[in-house]
Subunit: 300 residues, 2 copies
């Protein structure tokens, strides 16, 4: 399969490495000329492994009517709109498209694009990954990618999951992807803003009753707004993830520390939007939302 991976962050590099190993022909599309050069000369390297995978690399500016079987969009939620418009302008042609963002805000937006593609997939990444350089990524947590279908071609999805899977990077078809996405959103709505606000590692949230109380308050609001069936089960899940990723700095903490835009809009922003539709109050979610927005424009 001829694949374009759009975005050279941790997730983009992880996909590029494993999909090349799975014998696909991978092109990474990145913003910076520098990263393109690094990828061309070094390939994509997995931390702890000798071998590098040779990939093609292009910058957005070099796109011009190329044709792919599958385009995988790995850029951040906040960049999707710009990126998709650029791909259109540059006349990139692809049969299928896959989105692998966190949050749920982009679902709505993706639906607008559906007619341009044969199939539109959503990939929910349950791996841990940390970008070490422009061409090297650390696969810190082995999980899977849950594959859901947003539109058309229901029969082809199992074939695709098979084709893309390789060793420690399996794809699994999920008919319940909306539930998976909601559960991931709850995880992010609880862990990300608090770790960013308090500047602590994921595991430290469980170290005192006050942080735990705030987690539960955020959990309650998210579960209620997303209409998930079992709050207690969800709480156990959040705690498990916190323990499993105890020594990690959340992406939101990293973004805030490095003065980058965070994904707060797609996470807490989405919950606030849904709450307004349902005329519910979500004061704790609002507090973290405003705090992270404020700290982003402030840069401490």
């Amino acid at each position: 399969v001829k694949i374009a991976i759009v975005g050279g962050g941790a997730v983009g590099l992880l996909f590029a490495n494993y999909l090349t190993k799975a014998n696909h022909h991978v092109t990474i599309v990145v913003r910076r000329k520098e990263q393109e050069q690094q990828l061309r000369s070094h390939g994509v390297k997995l931390y702890g492994h000798e071998r590098t995978e040779i990939v093609e690399a292009l910058t957005f500016d070099e796109l011009q009517s190329q044709t792919f079987d599958l385009v995988i969009i790995t850029v951040k939620q906040t960049a999707i709109k710009t990126v998709v418009n650029t791909l259109k302008m540059r006349k990139l042609i692809a049969k299928d498209i896959m989105f692998v963002q966190n949050g749920m805000g982009h679902i709505h937006y993706m639906k607008e694009l559906l007619n341009c593609f044969h199939s539109c997939y959503i990939g929910i990444v349950e791996h841990g990954a940390k970008k070490l350089s422009d061409f090297e990524v650390h696969h810190t947590g082995i999980g899977k990618v849950s594959l859901g279908i947003l539109h058309k071609n229901h029969e082809k999805i199992h074939e695709l999951a098979n084709e893309l899977s390789f060793g420690k990077f399996p794809f699994e078809v999920s008919h319940d992807w909306e539930m998976i996405l909601k559960r991931k959103l709850v995880i992010n709505a609880v862990i990300n803003p608090l770790t960013a606000l308090f500047q602590v590692r994921n595991g430290e949230l469980l170290h005192n009753e006050h942080f735990i109380g705030l987690m539960r308050a955020l959990l309650f609001e998210a579960v209620s707004v997303l209409q998930l069936p079992d709050e207690e089960e969800m709480w156990q899940y959040v705690k498990r993830i916190c323990e499993k990723t105890a020594s990690n700095h959340s992406s939101m903490l990293m973004d805030l520390t490095n003065g980058r835009e965070t994904e707060i809009e797609a996470i807490s922003g989405h919950i606030i939007e849904k709450a307004e539709e349902q005329q519910k109050n979500v004061p704790f979610t609002s507090f973290v939302y405003e705090s992270i927005k404020g700290l982003t424009s402030h840069k401490r």
Copy 2:
């Protein structure tokens, strides 16, 4: 007047300096032997002034049935209970007592003590002061001390205010001290927790709409619970204080940064307690309360 000032923090040193200048006989009572020695050898110095004021100094351990006309308690809210018990145990004798803490939590406690003294005063300090060393304090903001009476001897208060006032350190009798204290509590409930949580100077809270939104939410809860008459006027007052103290680090931020206990219990804790009595929800106040408590036990 023979005065004992209990506590050698910024407020204690400021009182000691000016009250000595006003020709009173001042003894500072401190916890650490070290500070006692420094005070004995250097006196109390005001930053930017040549002259130092000679004072007596004692540690708590050295108290033994001394007699004073007035005891001024300048220790933090959180230490009051222990300090007052120590004074009792050490048989310190005083006609009158004055408390100059922030917050309102101690009012209730003070009322228990009333029978031991002729008069019990409350002093609301509207000065800026920063402790530079064990014997030096910077008078960063010139204001006044509003003097209220908690109990007995109403006629003597004007005389006392007169006796204590000196130059840039005036005392003013206030019959509305409960209102002044409430207004100060609102200021502290809005500015202190947010600056501590975001690690910003007071003035930076006004730099973006998100922080301002959170200030207003905290203000609304405090004003409602304390039953203050005019929210908009109070908001203008909070903004003025923020601007006047723009470059200051709030005491709560300093306490948190230095791993000390904060006054969150006396500030946001008091509002939460009052809210519960009135069966009101104060989610934003609860959020900052739990955050500061969590960060205190966490020590970032």
